[in-house]
């Protein structure tokens, strides 16, 4: 296996996994695959793919401007590859953006619904327009290869300068408007990153990092395909870029100094540490290495400097897009699925890049192989429309296999719990405590109910009234506590243990004892508990058990109490308050528990958000016989 094959195999594997997770995201919602939340609505797709991706694609307009507007013919060789890099960079960002949109099929809406005060509106338009420009700029390359539509190719080549101009103008807006987007978060974004100069900073950093990303891509191609490096040209390009990179760092530091926020960089917080790392990567390392002629002309120097700069600027954008936004909720860390989708989009773009580099005439003048016996170039058989024989082409079987296996592994590897529970917190119920008076607070949030158990018994008619609430008991038990079956605060509990019942009754031969042989074997068509366990359902129980799923504790408690309370409120005209929340949830609350339990709820806003579906209770009242 040569290195291209290994590299591509890895890319195909990640892409396969990402496709599986991406489809899951589409069918089960963002919550199923991501850790995005109401406190962190934007995650790794924005912070890693979109914002840094757009910056790294900036070579498309910077280098084309250098070649066609500043007429530096010596870089002409890289014109096609820089346009391709930008095109794929934008496709990557757009794909990640679409994956992140809640309603990806509405992505075209900014075209018809205008809102010109919105920075994101401007961004959307720029992405659409610039993608079109890049597409038209790159189109001649594949057209040249296929030999068809020669007229369009000639037209596009003739008016290339117009496209270059449009590219520069649109990119200027686009790069800066990404910065504008975060001007609206003055208090949320950390002081070391927030600045009213964000649009300018984004533009300058993009101009600096675009060519450096191109150099990194050329270094990669050279390493993968054994091409000789033209270090003189690359050094010239890098030398110019690093001046702009230094300008970016300078504007940032001066801006911070003027705002009096430079001291924050040394306050010892983790944000300050990240800031210093960012400055080291985006300013110090590239400037030191590329500032020295000897290092600039050495491939190793170029490698280190470009990787540092690309990471540094990427980090700058990721910090602004999310890492440094203040949040009051739990810390966001992307899930494995999110990271894979993020990398998968990049992998797919990298595969497309390599495809173009291998198949199309990307260099106009030939770029020879450094090896003694290079592989024969691929040949295309026009009659059969298949690619013939080089070892790299033969790798397609391997790639297909890897992709499909990765896809299958991805599908199998998705946690079914994540999809089914839809993010519901699994809170085990704490039984009601107390004696004659009970304190019902299943999730210990301090917002419970003081339930006068003895009073209710006396009022409702002594022992005969038990069945009004206790509608089902464990075998050989009486008045089993609610928490025995309603075990989860917010989710239903499956109280029927199939394995416990099947083996005592005769294993696989005993299905028909409970299931109707004529019908599908489901919960709904099986016998009810009472048909065998007549001791489980007490005589006169008004609440019927319809299925083997015990509703959540919260639903069960609200259901059983509020059904009566609503009836009583309707009957007794002067007791309207009986139907109100405060009738049971007395705000002051009793303190059966030690203070320490409540202490944690003291200072934070507590989380009481469960309300029963009111219409459901009303329906129960209408249907009840009384």
């Amino acid at each position: 296996m040569n290195r291209v094959k290994i590299f591509k195999s890895i890319l195909w594997a990640i892409t396969g996994l990402a496709v599986a997770f991406g489809v899951t995201r589409l069918f089960f919602g963002l919550g199923a695959v991501s850790n995005l939340s109401d406190t962190t609505p934007w995650g790794i797709w924005k912070g890693f793919n979109v914002l840094p991706g757009i910056a790294l694609a900036a070579g498309g307009f910077v280098v084309t401007a250098v070649i066609y507007i500043m007429r530096r013919e010596e870089f002409h060789r890289y014109a096609r590859v820089t346009v391709l890099l930008a095109f794929l960079g934008y496709i990557t960002a757009a794909t990640a953006l679409v994956a992140e949109l809640g309603l990806p099929w509405m992505v075209w809406h900014p075209i018809i619904y205008w809102q010109h005060h919105s920075a994101l509106f401007e961004v959307s338009w720029c992405v659409i327009l610039y993608l079109t420009v890049l597409f038209l700029e790159f189109l001649p390359v594949p057209l040249e290869h296929t030999g068809c539509l020669a007229g369009i190719r000639r037209l596009l080549t003739k008016y290339k300068l117009v496209l270059v101009f449009l590219g520069v103008m649109i990119s200027t807006l686009h790069q800066s408007s990404l910065g504008t987007m975060f001007l609206i978060t003055p208090e949320k974004l950390h002081g070391l990153w927030y600045s009213s100069l964000l649009p300018i900073l984004f533009f300058v950093s993009a101009v600096a990092v675009g060519p450096l990303m191109l150099i990194l891509a050329i270094l990669t191609i050279s390493a993968l395909y054994h091409k000789p490096l033209e270090t003189d040209k690359l050094a010239k390009l890098a030398g110019a870029s690093v001046i702009i990179l230094a300008l970016f760092g300078l504007i940032r530091l001066v801006d911070l100094a003027i705002a009096g926020k430079l001291g924050m960089a040394f306050d010892g917080s983790w944000q300050a540490a990240v800031f210093l790392i960012e400055i080291a990567l985006s300013l110090v390392i590239p400037v030191v290495i590329l500032g020295v002629g000897k290092f600039r002309h050495a491939p190793a120097g170029l490698w280190v400097a470009t990787i540092a700069a690309v990471t540094g600027i990427g980090l700058h954008r990721a910090n602004i897009a999310g890492i440094m936004l203040v949040r009051t909720g739990p810390v966001y860390f992307p899930t494995f699925y999110e990271i894979t989708i993020s990398l998968g989009i990049i992998s797919a773009a990298a595969l497309a890049f390599l495809f173009c580099v291998e198949r199309f005439k990307m260099w106009e003048t030939p770029w020879e192989d450094t090896r003694q016996n290079p592989e024969a170039p691929a040949e295309f058989d026009r009659a059969s429309e298949v690619w013939l024989g080089t070892p790299r082409i033969a790798g397609r079987t391997v790639y297909s296999l890897i992709f499909i296996v990765a896809l299958a592994v991805g599908c199998a590897g998705i946690s079914i719990d994540r999809i089914e529970s839809a993010g519901v917190k699994d809170v085990a119920v704490v039984p009601a405590r107390g004696g004659d008076t009970l304190f019902v607070d299943g999730n210990l949030d301090g917002f419970g109910v003081v339930f006068a158990h003895e009073e209710h018994i006396a009022r409702e008619g002594d022992k005969q009234s038990c069945v009004r609430c206790h509608h089902m008991n464990l075998p050989l038990d009486e008045n089993t506590g609610c928490h025995t079956c309603h075990r989860n605060m917010y989710t239903a509990t499956d109280v029927f243990r199939h394995d416990w019942h099947s083996s005592p009754t005769g294993g696989n031969l005993a299905c028909n004892q409970c299931h109707d042989p004529q019908r599908e074997r489901t919960d709904a068509t099986a016998k009810s508990c009472a048909e065998c366990h007549d001791d489980m359902i007490p005589d006169g129980a008004t609440i019927t058990v319809e299925q083997y799923q015990a509703p959540s504790y919260a639903d069960a408690m609200h259901g059983v109490c509020m059904t009566c309370h609503k009836q009583k409120a309707a009957e007794l005209t002067d007791r309207e308050e009986l139907a109100r929340c405060a009738a049971c949830h007395t705000p002051a609350g009793p303190h059966f528990l030690p203070e320490s339990v409540y202490e944690k709820f003291r200072d934070t806003s507590f989380n009481h958000i469960v309300m029963p579906p009111i219409t459901a209770i009303d329906r129960q009242i209408e249907e009840s016989p009384e």
Partner: protein, 253 residues
């Protein structure tokens, strides 16, 4: 312009407003999910009661800013401030970018994270009801008159009157009168309510003003960049020509 005034000292934390809101908007049963922010609001709870030591009960809901950050952020005008003062959401326009959630200084908009077709969820000041002359479900349900509905200037006057009438009782400030350009949902309180704004203090200027200068600079930047590039192109072309001529001259000599 309509508004809501909530008197924190009068709220007894009975949750009637929350229940009424759920009923009025047909919001389904809700359970705590891992993506909820721990303040009671969620995609199914458009208003919530926050308990603070005391106890104090503070009703949280969309503040219906006079200059909403969400409205200026939304790229498709799905969030719009109406003439009534209510900031309403149009799900048919929304693309699900969630920029409003980033922009909102009060952290109000919530998202249907569990849905394959998710929407933004937030209080709409019962726009349907108030445009038919009714009052919002929450203020109607309040048994204690702690949260009331009316014209904003009248409620502001009422708020100042209450503060003046009992000087020691309230903090001498109507929360929402000037914060972030002013909001339609006002509070008077005996405890500081700045925690309601996302970063624990509210700024005086409205947020849309932060992006406005940059957005205004867009057309000049676009044309300016074109002009600069045009000038550069002309200059470089000219330099090339002069150099070629110089070379030719040298050749003649």
């Amino acid at each position: 312009m309509k508004a809501i005034l909530t008197d924190v000292t009068k709220c007894i934390g009975c949750f009637e407003c929350v229940a009424a809101c759920k009923e009025a908007h047909g919001l389904a049963n809700d359970v705590p999910r891992k993506w909820h922010r721990n303040d009671g609001l969620s995609a199914r709870n458009w208003t919530a009661i926050i308990q603070k030591p005391g106890p104090h009960y503070i009703r949280k809901q969309c503040r219906h800013c006079l200059e909403p950050a969400c409205e200026s952020a939304c790229p498709v005008a799905a969030l719009v401030r109406t003439e009534t003062g209510a900031v309403v959401y149009d799900p048919a326009k929304c693309i699900g970018c969630r920029y409003c959630m980033i922009a909102c200084p009060f952290g109000i908009p919530r998202y249907d994270w569990e849905e394959p077709v998710p929407y933004i969820q937030k209080c709409d000041l019962c726009y349907d009801r108030i445009s038919h002359g009714q009052q919002p479900a929450c203020t109607e349900a309040c048994p204690n008159g702690a949260t009331i509905f009316g014209e904003r200037d009248e409620l502001l006057a009422e708020a100042h009157r209450r503060i003046k009438a009992e000087p020691g009782k309230y903090i001498n400030r109507v929360f929402g009168e000037h914060d972030l350009g002013g909001t339609a949902v006002l509070y008077i309180s005996d405890i500081d309510l700045d925690f309601l704004a996302y970063p624990a203090r509210s700024r005086t200027p409205a947020l849309p003003a932060t992006t406005a200068p940059a957005m205004k600079a867009v057309p000049p930047a676009f044309l300016g960049m074109g002009a600069i590039m045009g000038g550069l192109y002309w200059f470089c072309k000219r330099r090339e020509k002069v150099r070629a001529e110089d070379k030719k001259d040298e050749g003649v000599e």
